[in-house]
């Protein structure tokens, strides 16, 4: 009887499983489209869906610098300042700070100087920052305490960690108020011997005492390691830093060497976001790193979102931080924003979206198709999908194709604050140097390499030819006639027009290379381009480049190399011509003009000046401009510097890329902000509209299944008939 019941129950379980599978198969259980990649319980919820193609390496704010890391950290960590979401030019506003910090200046003797003091007299700039009270951290086990107020998880043994695999395995969480000391703690972490902050080098030059602090921590680390072998926890709260001090619970002070107005922009980056010392102590416990439980993997912030799922192999999920202090959508923007509906949510509480799901997509085709099916809310435009998404009008204007318009998809474009350029190694005996001959040769090449054509062919028209290193939208950039590079372009009523190749050939002849031959030796001029792009996909582009040089009868040799060798060549200064790019860290011309500052030379100083350009006049002006506030005087100096660059031509100014982004009709408040990292809190989703559209666009088509079944039957039928005939044939017939 019991056995019968067990068998019956087993059969019942199988039947139930089979039925549920069948129901799910026909999509009847949840009403979701069959091809939906999301769980049924997410249907109709206020969730933003996006994708990522490469996993983040670091989520520790002291280390993360790449865009694929900042996209998460920007929503979790809150530095004292942020960029206004809508206003242009880019403007900093307080985030956790009560007001914008105004630095005051001191001379070498510590005496206060007036605000308009000569930068040469300023020995120190002091930033005193006050943060708002009442801001609380996201729930996290590092803050969890027992009834007696002792930390629950700060002295964990191996046994305590036995069943722990992820952070969510800790049962209890806690929180506490954000205090100024957390910001100071993070500044100290820039110098931690085991954390490799990419900005330590530059900050050590500016923050008072940071370099010495790093040396002290290193020595202390070594001393502790010798004392007790094994992992060592350096409690930074025990080591004061002269350049970063806590004034009281909500105020802290940062002291900078000299005048460095660009410092305020760093205060809007996660490098200067608060990190609670409890988190460091919690994650430093033995056994945590072995379980991948580190601050580099599980951030602790005060921002609108917290990292709810951290599985870079599949999905990263940001969820609303229940302790978020609250913020409202901006009520002001730039002219035209109201007309675009960008102020419709003014005053509404942020964030507007409950969860943000980033799914791993390694290939462009599935990503694009899922966007078209409505499973991603926004998408870039790759060159593969460009023709399907964008149509170019007779006047060169770019609009959406009819297919996109029918779906209600919208296009947002912006000139990115970056530059792709071709650099000449100024240390090279042929193409480099500051002689008239070398200068004319570089200018001739600058005319011959037609970047308008390059943009049209290889970037689908998505770019604007650069006239100087400074992109549009950054102070110092000039538009129109005043902004053109007169060595390469002529101004016409239609705008700038590249000088003819005949002019380039004339310059080349003047340089001593008539028809591409060295007048002194009679040998053809051969130049080398070092590039990491040497695969089959790059062939067309490299062929195009050869043709550009061939216009001047110059032979361009492409020296394809892997990234490591390329870096070596750049460091040793053995490359001749190269291509490189730069993305702005902050909206200041200093962040572009420093790429050609002599003391940043790659070979001599291992800096970012890959062309190794060193012009004393330019360097002098750079030092002057760097410490100035925006205004006509600064603009005049920048104009002068740009003129020097155009004349010397250490770069062929390439182009500034245009960013294209597509988004669906249900995705609101989209305005490109290339400086801000925390823009997701402003976005809004109409989840009901999305759900309807997904259903409408993804109705399953069933007849092909029937057709496939029929084809299978038809293909098996002859075999079956043949088999039956074979089996029923008489032996005699077979023999005969």
């Amino acid at each position: 009887m019991g056995a019968h019941r067990r068998a019956k129950s087993r059969t019942g379980r199988w039947l139930a499983a089979f039925l549920s599978l069948g129901l799910a198969l026909v999509g009847g259980c949840d009403g979701q489209p069959w091809n939906s990649p999301y769980p049924p319980d997410e249907a109709g919820r206020n969730i933003l869906y996006s994708s990522f193609s490469s996993r983040p390496n670091h989520l520790d704010p002291v280390q993360s610098y790449s865009s694929n890391e900042i996209v998460y950290n920007g929503q979790i960590y809150e530095p004292p300042l942020q960029y206004h979401y809508l206003k242009r030019p880019y403007r900093l506003i307080p985030l956790t700070a009560t007001r914008m910090p105004r630095p005051y200046y001191l001379d070498a003797g510590g005496r206060r100087l007036p605000d308009d003091a000569d930068p040469g007299d300023i020995a120190f700039s002091v930033y005193e920052i006050e943060i708002r009270p009442g801001i609380r951290y996201q729930p996290h086990p590092a803050f969890a305490r027992d009834a007696d107020g002792r930390f629950l998880y700060h002295n964990l043994s191996a046994d305590d960690l036995e069943d722990v695999e992820t952070l969510s395995d800790f049962e209890h969480t806690g929180s506490r108020e954000l205090v100024a000391a957390d910001y100071v703690h993070e500044i100290k972490r820039l110098a931690h011997p085991h954390l490799h902050s990419p900005i330590y080098g530059i900050m050590a030059d500016y923050i008072v005492g940071l370099k010495e602090y790093a040396a002290r921590l290193r020595a202390e680390q070594e001393r502790l390691e010798k004392k007790a072998p094994g992992p060592v926890f350096l409690d930074l709260t025990q080591y004061p830093l002269a350049g970063a001090e806590v004034l009281d619970r909500y105020r802290y002070r940062i002291t900078i060497k000299g005048k460095y107005p660009q410092f305020k922009y760093w205060l809007a980056m996660p490098f200067f976001a608060p990190v609670p010392p409890e988190a460091d102590r919690f994650y430093a416990q033995p056994g945590m790193k072995e379980r991948n439980i580190t601050l580099d993997w599980y951030p602790v912030g005060t921002g609108p979102y917290l990292l709810a799922v951290n599985n870079p192999n599949r999905q990263m999920v940001l969820a609303r931080n229940p302790n978020f202090h609250g913020e409202t959508y901006p009520a002001q923007g730039e002219p035209g924003d109201a007309g675009k509906g960008l102020l419709a949510d003014a005053g509404k509480p942020l964030p507007m979206i409950d969860r943000i799901v980033f799914s791993l997509e390694k290939e462009a085709i599935p990503t694009w198709n899922k966007f078209l099916q409505g499973y991603y809310d926004t998408s870039g435009v790759s060159s593969d999908s460009f023709d399907q998404a964008i149509q170019v009008g007779s006047g060169g204007e770019m609009t959406l194709t009819d297919e996109m318009k029918r779906k209600g998809i919208q296009l947002s474009t912006s000139v990115s604050t970056s530059i792709f350029y071709m650099g000449f190694n100024m240390l090279d005996p042929v193409i480099g140097g500051y002689s008239k001959r070398a200068r004319l040769l570089r200018r001739a090449i600058a005319i011959a390499v037609d970047y308008e054509e390059f943009i049209s062919i290889f970037a689908n028209g998505r770019g604007i030819p650069a006239q100087s290193p400074i992109p549009p939208g950054i102070f110092g950039h000039r538009d129109g006639r005043d902004g053109i590079n007169p060595y390469v372009y002529d101004w016409t009523p239609r705008g700038p027009v590249r000088k003819p190749v005949s002019e380039a050939r004339r310059l080349l002849a003047e340089a001593g290379y008539p028809d591409g031959r060295d007048i002194r030796t009679g040998k053809p001029l051969v130049l080398n381009l070092d590039t990491t792009a040497s695969g089959p996909d790059d062939k067309a582009r490299l062929d195009w480049l050869r043709k550009q040089f061939a216009k001047l009868d110059i032979q361009l040799v492409i020296r394809g190399t892997d990234y490591n060798r390329f870096q070596d060549k750049m460091l040793k200064g053995t490359a001749q011509i190269f291509q490189w790019g730069w993305n702005a860290d902050y909206p200041d011309p200093e962040n572009f003009l420093f790429l050609l500052y002599g003391r940043n030379g790659k070979v001599e100083h291992n800096g970012e000046n890959a062309a190794n350009y060193a012009n004393p006049e330019y360097d002098r002006l750079f030092e002057q401009m760097k410490a100035m506030d925006d205004g006509p005087e600064r603009q005049a100096i920048i104009d002068h510097m740009v003129e020097i660059l155009r004349r010397d031509s250490p770069w062929l100014f390439g182009y500034h890329p245009l960013q294209f982004a597509l988004f669906h009709a249900w995705y609101h408040n989209v305005k490109p902000n290339l400086m801000a990292n925390n823009t997701l809190k402003y976005r809004r989703i109409d989840a009901a509209l999305r759900q309807n559209k997904r259903r409408e666009w993804n109705r399953p088509v069933l007849w092909p299944l029937g057709l496939v079944a029929l084809l299978l039957v038809l293909s098996v039928l002859p075999a079956w008939i043949s088999y039956r005939r074979h089996e029923t044939r008489r032996a005699l017939e077979e023999a005969g």
Binding site: L21, A24, W34, N35, S36, P37, Y38, P39, R55, N57, H58, Y65, S66, P193, H194, H196, P198, I199, Y200, G201, I202, K289, E290, R291, N292, T294, D296, W297, N311, N313, R314, S359, L360, E361, K362, E363, I365, P366, N369, K370, L372, Q373, D562, Y563, N564, Q567, D585, N606, E608, N698, R699, P700, V701, P704, L705, P718, A719, S722, Y723, E727
Partner: protein
């Protein structure tokens, strides 16, 4: 047999040392510790001090293979090779150069890989053997010729084409399955059904031809003729006798891949967004993460050797005449 297995395992040790040495040499011919540091520290604002610090922290500040500064055994042991290799033999993979625990990563990523690889293997075997049997049954007829032509056509087409066409037809056009993605648990079937079908279909041409050849060789043997003369039905003959006797070459190809199944399929996993191990090594090579590369190559070698030993053992199970000694 026990002695044989032990001997084979002992043989594996020098092989694994050799593989490890070769991986090490190949990796460091292409990448120097400085390059690795630069790659991990990012493109912008990397100082020489930061590079030195990274190398010291990750143990790449020692000589590669021979430490002339050290004394005695330290000349060999105080090197990157020794430090990074010796723990592998205890299956302690340690942390990646990016700071992640490799063992845990492998543990997480092997299941989605298995969710694809196991059904592809089992279903594939069923389909390929059945199809090959069918062709063998109709040998010499128009059905056989059509089947062989179809096999040649199928094996001439790249897997990439099947993937893109499959995604286009079944997801984009007919909206039947998700185009890519993955959910753990029972929901995973919706995401693996298309890659599994494509994986099976893509292997149909080559595998069926191979199995057909094996069956045809077997089908002409005397015992088959005898069985047929005794009145055994053709399906009974094929599945009851021919298949059993053709198992040795089939096992050669199948058992050897069993342990390596969890290493995943790079292309299928990439296109279908399956978070398996398929792309783990490739990603590591691209990011110059030597810790992951050496761990995965070592693991792959161990599993391959294991597969070969298992294959030998399986011979004895299907053919009692074979003795391992």
């Amino acid at each position: 047999m026990f002695a044989y297995v032990v001997r084979r395992m002992l043989y594996a040790v020098p092989i694994l040392i050799g593989v490890n040495l070769l991986t090490f040499a190949l990796f460091f011919v292409v990448n120097s510790p400085d390059d690795m540091a630069r790659m991990h520290l990012g493109m912008k604002r990397v100082t020489p001090e930061a590079i030195e610090k990274w190398k010291a922290d990750h143990g790449y500040d020692r000589p590669l293979l021979y430490n002339a500064q050290a004394e005695g055994l330290g000349r060999v042991t105080d090197t990157i090779f020794f430090e990074k290799s010796v723990r592998l033999f205890a299956f302690q993979f340690g942390s990646s150069d990016g700071g992640r625990n490799i063992g845990q990563d492998i543990g997480q990523r092997m299941w989605p890989s298995l969710a694809i690889a196991v059904p592809v293997l089992l279903l594939g075997l069923l389909v390929y053997i059945s199809f090959a049997m069918l062709l063998a049954f109709f040998r010499g007829t128009y059905l056989d010729v059509s089947g062989v032509v179809l096999s040649v056509v199928l094996m001439s087409i790249s897997l990439l084409f099947y993937i893109i066409a499959g995604q286009y037809v079944f997801s984009k056009l007919f909206h039947l399955v998700p185009i890519s993605g993955y959910q753990p648990g029972w929901l995973a079937w919706r995401f693996v059904i298309l890659p599994v079908a494509i994986g099976v279909f893509a292997g149909l041409g080559s595998s069926s031809r191979w199995y057909r050849t094996i069956f045809l060789e077997e089908i002409n043997k005397d015992y088959v003729r005898t069985a047929r003369a005794k009145g055994l039905s053709e399906p009974g003959l094929l599945f009851g006798h021919v298949l059993k006797n053709a198992l040795v070459p089939i096992l050669t190809g199948v058992v050897v891949v069993l342990p390596t199944l969890f290493m995943g399929n790079l292309i299928l996993e990439s296109f279908f967004g399956i978070p398996g191990l398929g792309s783990y090594t490739i990603d590591a090579i691209n990011s110059q993460d030597f810790a992951i590369v050496r761990a995965m190559v070592f693991l792959g070698s161990v599993l391959y050797i294991l597969g070969l030993i298992l294959t030998d053992i399986s011979y004895t199970l299907v053919d009692p005449r074979i003795r391992l000694s």
